[in-house]
Symmetry: C2
Subunit: 295 residues, 2 copies
Amino acid sequence: MRSANDEARPPENFVDASSPSTPVRSNLHQRIARDLGERIAAGDPVPGKVLPTEAELCARLAVSRSALREGFRLLAGKGLIASKRKVGTVVRPRTEWNMFDPDVLAWHLAAAPTDGFVTDLFEVRRIIEPWAAALAAQRAEAPTIARIAVAYEDMVRFQGRAEDLLEADLRFHETILEATGNAFLISFGALIESGLRASFKLSWSGSAHTPEYSLRRHRRVWETIRERKAQEAFALMSELLRSAIEDVHDALLSRRLAADEERGVFTDSVKDKGPSGQRQRESRERARQQPASKR
Amino acid sequence: MRSANDEARPPENFVDASSPSTPVRSNLHQRIARDLGERIAAGDPVPGKVLPTEAELCARLAVSRSALREGFRLLAGKGLIASKRKVGTVVRPRTEWNMFDPDVLAWHLAAAPTDGFVTDLFEVRRIIEPWAAALAAQRAEAPTIARIAVAYEDMVRFQGRAEDLLEADLRFHETILEATGNAFLISFGALIESGLRASFKLSWSGSAHTPEYSLRRHRRVWETIRERKAQEAFALMSELLRSAIEDVHDALLSRRLAADEERGVFTDSVKDKGPSGQRQRESRERARQQPASKR
DNA sequence: TCTCATCCTATTGTCCGACAAATAAACCGC
DNA sequence: GCGGTTTATTTGTCGGACAATAGGATGAGA
């Protein structure tokens, strides 16, 4: 029984290798978790509803119950699902999900990168990272400051290659978080990494602002940290993130415009969007749950 | 084989029921994860080292391999461990752990509530919650504000019963986070809940400040949110947390003093601690990894 | 003696089947 | 119509088997 393949099953043909914090050759239960996680993040089984029974999912995904259940545990540990005897495995309400988990963030961005969602993410970054910069200016040890410098210099050197530039950019921000010596802020770095990687893959490789503009801001942040000017580091990091979020919103906007145009629709829902950077606050309630992509 | 019990094994005799975000009647794999998680958080297998093999752990804990592996997945999903064929299951470096996971936080606090750790936690609270209060003042809808009021009034009513007071206190802070509408900030509430619950169980039920003092601060935060005064809400929440961290530090200090005294040691390591609230910044590096309790 | 290829073995990864336990839902007696 | 009982379904745990991988031992050759 269970001959070959039924539907929606990636048994062997996809080596893929696209997930943060999981190695290229991921295990089966990791792939299962990612698969289900992305689907749940997209709202396939809407919160409150139950997933198919383990037996059925085993058949559909063509995996053993052990592997499936281990995948379930990965999701349960992040708050996405909860299983109970006789009732099944239910998708927990979104408020219970651990949004600070890098995987959960990646699944969200892979499945439904809504405006409201990335707005929320950058809002948190704008809350945390300026403080991190200030604390780094106060506490960073010399070698850590040197690593921030290296990251910045790599950004300059890799200006051409977007891939390497992203890596250097990530290292820049993560090293600043490290410099604070705060275990929680260091953890926050993984979230930024996951978020930026996914956003990057989402195709906003470039930016609306010129590369020089962004580089100059990074350089000034680094300099103020080196010179132990906490308040200025705070302000500059705040500025840096403000311009970064504008870039992301522009990218998401053009992305949606392109999608709409190609679909032939051009209704009133997209005609009066301003040039970004301002109306996020007002329209955030409505933009929240509006999927911008497939599925 | 595997007759009765070997060591450090809680097979059936502990019903316990002490873990946040997990129901009272927890499953076996959840208990396994908590058990190993607390031990790892305490540094039993130090990061980089490998755990005993699955076969051995199965024997020691007297559980099946399935249950053990599901527990492993819980831990792996939070970044604590990583398994590889032939090499075993290694404890990942602390920087890779997801400190924003409520369980990870609880395990840390249960196993090794160091000064540096709670300082870090409250530092993050002081970064995030004032902003949350400000955003809540801007965005909260009327019914949400009403729930904040209810939480405050419950705090007043439950002044006597510490348990209920804690619940109301948690609801107060979590509702403010909810009011921001930011998915990430809402997630942060689970962290606060886990942290405060563990701290509470750690015995600082009361506080150095009078209850009235704390209540007055909460009241003023609520009022400014109701009156949409974002800046004042920011400042007041900041103040509230500043006094809260003083309470916690006092509690931890007296806790350690009591432990030292009872042990008979009274060396120079504890004699010149000031009256809290000031020297956290300077001595944080040294206080970081100093266990204050058993094990 | 050093280097490299090969084999061996230990360990996790996955599969399978069985039974236990819980509990929602159907059922039945009153 | 209602409360207690039974049933059926679903997850929870167990035990065993084999596959896959990779570290380490082994041995041959330079």
